[in-house]
């Protein structure tokens, strides 16, 4: 610095006077340290901290609230979904062709045999309409289940002969059934072991059970 100052002075002689005055080093007056109060700073910091904590708390609370709301709404949605499904099930039950047909039949409705078709373009009636009848109705219900053989034994018949009384259950039962039912009935009895279900109609009429 001591070498550059004279060189600078030599190069800019015109500025020398004023610059010299300005460049003269003087003793910096001792700064008087004013001791400021720490209160505002502490206030700001504590406000920040408290504000942060309270904010966090509020945020957390609102999150919790939202969580409660979610749980609540989810439960409500589940309940509504369950309700919708049970209503759907009811609807399915009502819409079941079987139940509709049963209701219709109870109201006295019958299936048409031969309806007429009206052609809207030509105005002609096609087909030969026949009034519907109640003859040969569609059987809607399954036949009742046949009882197992143990629960539905052949009728116990005792044949009383005029001269002497004799109990011969097995033999007389077969004879009696054969007599009363004729050919069809006997055949269905013969088959009963193999296809008991199918001879239901004849069986019912034979034994006089109405299920």
């Amino acid at each position: 610095m001591s070498s550059t100052a004279p060189a600078l002075r030599a190069r800019v002689p015109r500025l020398a006077g004023a610059a010299l005055e300005r460049a003269r080093l003087t003793v910096v007056p001792k700064r008087t340290r004013r001791r400021t109060s720490p209160v505002p700073f502490l206030l700001v910091i504590s406000m920040l901290a408290v504000g942060g904590i309270v904010g966090l708390l509020l945020f957390n609370t609102s999150m919790q609230q939202a969580s409660f709301a979610v749980t609540d709404l989810q439960r409500q949605a589940d309940a509504l979904q369950a309700q919708r499904q049970s209503l759907q099930m009811q609807l399915d039950k009502l819409r079941d062709p079987q139940s509709i047909a049963l209701k219709a039949q109870r109201m006295g409705m019958v299936l048409p045999d031969s309806p007429a078709v009206l052609d809207l373009r030509t105005g002609k009636v096609l087909g030969d309409p026949v009034p519907a009848t109640r003859l040969d109705p569609l059987r809607l219900l399954a036949p009742p289940p046949t009882k197992p053989a143990e629960l539905d034994p052949p009728a116990h018949v005792t044949v009383v002969h005029p001269p002497a009384t004799r109990h011969d259950a097995g033999n007389s039962t077969r004879n009696t059934t054969g007599d009363t039912t004729g050919d069809t009935g006997r055949r269905s009895h013969d088959h009963s072991g193999r296809a008991g279900r199918n001879d239901h109609t004849s069986h019912t009429s034979n034994t006089g059970h109405s299920h």
Binding site: Q64, N198, D199
Partner: protein, 609 residues
């Protein structure tokens, strides 16, 4: 400057000198309290290392030595909850989008016996009343020892289960909970049950439910999250694997028509005192199966109530000899081959020798003069066998293969039988005589319906289909209407001639099945009365298979209907047993789909000469 700089230097130096003694004194005090910097640094490091080594040791203990114990401990404190996200099983729908099988959210009610034991009798009474469960079973479950889990009721409709458990909690009973337990329902009970199948406790057991299980079931997901006081902790740790719902299966079945067909079929089989029966309704153009009814059937909502043999589709799984319906295929092939026409005059003897056997007709006659139309209208075995001898070797088999015999229809029914068409090596003249009128060849119901539908469709066979669009079976086979192909089997002219001949079958004067007529419409059809092969002896056992296949309106067919009854005991044949059922089903289908009568007259081709 030279003067000023020494002054400045000297000005600073004294000040520094003045400060030093104080600072030195303070430093000396500090050193005495905290020790030297390196010492402090070393002490600090040792302390940190000590703490870290504790952490390390704990880490090794937690993760290395007994991780399971702590994991279970963490899980048992209830901090995290894993819930299953059940995939909804796809529906099985009919062609109008109505559910044949549906899934509803149901819950299981479970109990923690440790908590319920104290008030068990009261709680059991409460549950028995509200959930309709057995009191004693419930009481046993509620008082179980050494268990924290007991089933109280399964597959309870969700709304009921939640209501009951909430009511129990309000009444002061603790230890009840509900869990997901999806329920499969079949709203129409027995409608299409033999096709749709049913679900067991853990999975599908039969039918489409089983065949298309992969598509229907979807994939369950799960969600794990942290809870506090029953509520999910926001921003808590959570993992979600979303559930993938099953895909609905669209069938070509028409629910109402299927229902009607089943009722008519049941009435027919019971009326004829038959063993079993089935009926197929097919859309002529698309080959879509609108109804495929089986009897006996069962209630899919309660499959255990029916014997296992009633639960599959006999139409698809049980091969049978088609009998005289086969004559339609034999003779239309013969017309297509140019050997005969519908008016060809035949001398039909009372019996026909075929190798070491003799072929008879169903009605005794001397030598009669029938046209080919008469052979069909009167269902003459001898006439058919005699004409089929005009086939060059191997050609009948080629036609029958073309009609789809001996090959699975692959409509998506499990366990479908391909039927039995004798191989080329087994084929001989005697066999061909019998095959010509439907013996020594066996088929399944849909195969035969599709073969007759070929005639209805002007000689072009359309693959039958049960699945709308396309679906992949568990075995990876793609089936459905999108996969259906068609190919010509006989010429349009041959099909037309055969239709005209089949119209004579329902003629009250010359045909054998006037009861198959549908009032207002022209019907073409063919009866079948075949001897039945016994299941054990492999011979004809004296039983019969009676059937009727036909289509209407004959001049522009819309549906093909095929009805078969096995072993009727009322002495009826195809015309008297299956004919009326055909008429009812066809009439209902035409009415339901609004098919107007065409106004055409049935054919009057001569049947005799």
């Amino acid at each position: 400057m030279p003067t000023s700089s020494p002054r400045g230097r000297s000005g600073r130096t004294p000040a520094a000198r003045n400060r030093r003694p104080g600072a030195a004194a303070r430093a000396r005090v500090r050193r005495s309290l905290r020790g030297s910097a390196p010492l402090r640094l070393r002490t600090g490091f040792v302390f940190i290392a000590l703490v870290m080594s504790f952490f390390g040791a704990r880490l090794v203990q937690l993760q290395g030595i007994e991780p399971e114990k702590y994991a279970t401990l963490a899980a048992s404190t209830g901090g995290t909850v894993t819930v299953e996200l059940p995939a909804t099983r796809g529906k099985i729908l009919d062609r109008n989008g109505r559910a044949l099988a549906d899934s509803v959210a149901a819950r299981m009610v479970v109990a923690d016996p440790v908590q319920t034991r104290r008030k068990a009798p009261d709680l059991a009474r409460f549950l028995a009343r509200r959930l309709h469960v057995d009191y004693f079973t419930t009481l046993r479950a509620l008082t179980q020892q050494d268990s924290r889990f007991a089933y109280i009721a399964r597959r309870v409709p969700a709304s009921l289960a939640v209501r009951v458990v909430n009511a129990a909690t309000d009444a002061g009973y603790r230890g009840l909970a509900t869990r997901n337990d999806p329920l499969r329902i079949y709203p129409d009970h027995d409608v299409a049950a033999n096709l749709v199948g049913f679900m067991g406790t853990d999975g599908p057991l039969a039918g489409l439910e089983l065949t298309f299980n992969k598509q229907l079931q979807g994939r369950d997901g799960s969600e794990t999250y942290e809870v506090g006081a029953g509520n999910r902790i926001p921003l808590g740790h959570s993992t979600v694997t979303p559930a993938v719902n099953g895909t609905d299966l669209h069938t070509t079945i028409d629910e109402d028509l299927q229902w009607y067909t089943q009722r008519v079929l049941r009435q027919t089989v019971l009326g004829a005192r038959g063993d079993s029966g089935f009926a197929v309704v097919m859309d002529r153009r698309s080959g879509e199966i609108l109804a495929l009814a089986d009897y006996p059937t069962y209630d899919a909502s309660n499959p255990q109530a029916a014997p296992a043999k009633d639960r599959n589709s006999l139409a698809m799984t049980s091969p049978y000899e088609p009998g005289s319906v086969e004559k339609v295929l034999t003779l239309s092939g013969l017309i297509d081959a140019g050997k005969v026409t519908d008016r060809t005059r035949l001398l039909v003897p009372g019996q026909l020798r075929s190798g070491d056997r003799v072929i008879h007709d169903w009605f005794p006659h001397g030598t009669i003069r029938l046209t080919l139309a008469g052979v069909i209208a009167q269902s003459s075995n001898i006439g058919t066998a005699k004409s089929s001898r005009l086939y060059p070797p191997g050609q009948l088999r080629k036609y029958l293969t073309g009609f789809g015999l001996g090959r699975r229809t692959d409509i998506g029914v499990n366990g479908e039988t391909p039927g039995l068409l004798p191989s080329r090596a087994q084929w001989n003249g005697m066999l061909q005589d019998r095959i010509a009128f439907g013996q020594s060849v066996s088929v399944n119901g849909v195969q035969m319906a599709a073969a007759v539908n070929t005639i209805a469709n002007g000689g072009v066979r359309v693959d039958p289909s049960l699945i709308e669009g396309r679906a992949t079976t568990n075995l990876g086979q793609v089936v459905g209407t999108d996969e259906a192909t068609s190919h010509r089997v006989v010429s349009q002219n041959a099909a037309h001639q055969m239709t005209q001949m089949m119209e004579r079958v329902v003629d009250p004067d010359v045909g054998v099945a006037p009861s198959a007529q549908v009032p207002g419409y022209v019907v073409a059809g063919k009866t079948g009365t075949a001897q039945r092969v016994g299941p054990t002896c492999g011979c004809y056992n004296g039983q019969f298979t009676v059937s009727f296949a036909g289509f209407a309106p004959a001049d522009d067919p819309r549906f093909t209907v095929y009805v078969v009854v096995q072993n009727p005991r009322n002495g009826g044949g195809g015309g008297t047993v299956a004919g009326p059922a055909f008429s009812k089903i066809m009439s209902f289908a035409l009415r339901r789909y609004g098919v107007p009568p065409t106004g055409a007259e049935p054919s009057h081709i001569p049947t005799t000469w």
